[in-house]
Amino acid sequence: MSQSACIEGSCMKEACVEENSEKRQEKPGFKLFGEVSFRSFRKHESSLALFNWISILLFTFFLFMAFFPSSLAPYAPEERFIPYEAPSGRHLLGTNDIGNDILSELVFGARISITVGFAAALISTLIGTVLGLCAGYFRGVLDELLMGFTDVVLVIPKIPLIIVLGAFLRPSIWILILVLGLLSWESTARVTRSKALQLREAGYVKSAQCMGFSPYHIMTSDIFPNIIHVLLPKFMLAIASAMISEASLSFLGLGDISLKSWGIMLSFAFFRGGFIRDMWWWYMPPGICITFCVLSIALVGFGLEAKEKEYSEEGANIS
């Protein structure tokens, strides 16, 4: 979705710079005098720290909702009551068209939405890391091939493809996860590749090469640990992006109906008369939950990214 890539947008500039690396020369940051850069003197913003804490709290709350839904939900989501009820003391968010308590559905839906996001992000991050590492470490023909492959595959728009697949096959959560994961690794691959390109020139990598360690060993024990702090924010942003895509696809009825994610709830609300009947307690909560969950994940991701930049800058300054 347009905004799912927007989530990754903050890293996009990096991705774009990498993509046009042959066009764009290396630009060292402008240092004012000598080695002492005034950047290391910048005071840490207290308001940003506040943001970070709020987003982490929010994210933990949603995780808790996903792991322990029974402790938050008043009923089981399949239990049926009187349908189309407005919010009341017994049903804080009312009931839907078949009589399920909406609040319980909401709480149990967290698990599905977050799992899909997490799984898809895991797949895409894994693929992206492996490809990026290999491309960056081995360079040459392999680099060209892999990056070419990346370019070629990622022109294909994900949503239409999933639509076609979903129409043919029974809508299943695994298709969703697989396709989302298999088509989103571009930005991770680019970032890993550029970091690998940097790190392969480091002293300890060169000495490991001299000592005759296999490339696989060097990549896993020398280069990879230094990439993790870059991967983590990307992973978070990938989760956010996948969650939004899932929500969108579920809206079209391509999600798994048996597993009620927030997206499916929204879809039911719209297509089964919730909208027309002005039942805001049905369609607002899932949408709000999606937004806030994605927001918290994205903010955590941005926070991690900012921290990573800080560390890499300070590291460069101390030398």
């Binding site: 060292p28 005098f33 000598g34 080695e35 002492v36 005034f38 003197f41 910048r42 005071k43």
Partner: protein, 317 residues
Amino acid sequence: MKSHASSTLLEVRDLEVSFQGIETVTVLSGISFSIRESETLALVGETGCGKSVVAHTIMHLLPPESRVKGAVEFKGKNLLGLNEKEMTKIRGKEIAIIFQDPSLALNPVYSIGHQLAEPLRVHQKEKKKAALSRAAIALKCMSFENFSECINYYPSWCSGGMNQRFLIAASTMLNPALLIADEPSKGLDKKCVAELETELKKLKVERKTSLLLISHDLGFVQRLANRIAVMYAGEIIELADSSSVFEKPLHPYTRGLLNSLPEKGFIPIPGFSPPLNSPPLGCRFHPRCPLREKYCIQVHPELKEIDGRAVRCFLYP
């Protein structure tokens, strides 16, 4: 050090610059010098001694966390008291600066002609075509034979030496009275340095531009400068005219610098420049000075004037 005869163009008095952050670092202390019209003053010193900060302070290009004390007077006006809008009228027009990395200082997506014409369009509100043709003429005066093609080139297509000369052309389009050159010869090979020297000499002679030359290349400086100020750890430790500094250096640091030249034997000065957030007590050079006394470790020397020169050392009380 006050000078006489032709009028003073730029005067810097007791300049102190510090950067505020987690800790406050004083980068420059007690900097005083002056430049007359058509004079070339060179600011020499190791990397990290604060030479570029002087240049940026004069031009008001320091970052927001900087604190400046002292006075910088240009043609009688106190530059430090001007606000940003007033300063923009002076920058590029009366004082210009060229940076050490010409390929990075020029905007990669605009043509050379466009960037040369820009000062004309911004300061003198000239029309694009007229400005471009004046830019072409400027390039011709710089002895670029294919100046009409150069107008359409982009910085990434040209070598560092060419870009440096383009940069000089852009900075001097409006005939500024003072040109600050911040390490112009860094990263250039010998041939380019020679071309650069020719350009700067032409500026001095034909347009009577004053030059504040910041460099760590002593040979380059010797050929161009009238007077030399030697900086160390944020202070001026010697200020004299060029020949005096090279023939009879007073400060032990200056002597050490000259000894480290290839012609004199490449003898380096032992030790490292002190970090500016914790300079040594007393004379800042004392840890590396072969002639230090007990006095030097405890008391900080002032800049003393002797025979038209200035030096900051207890050897000359």
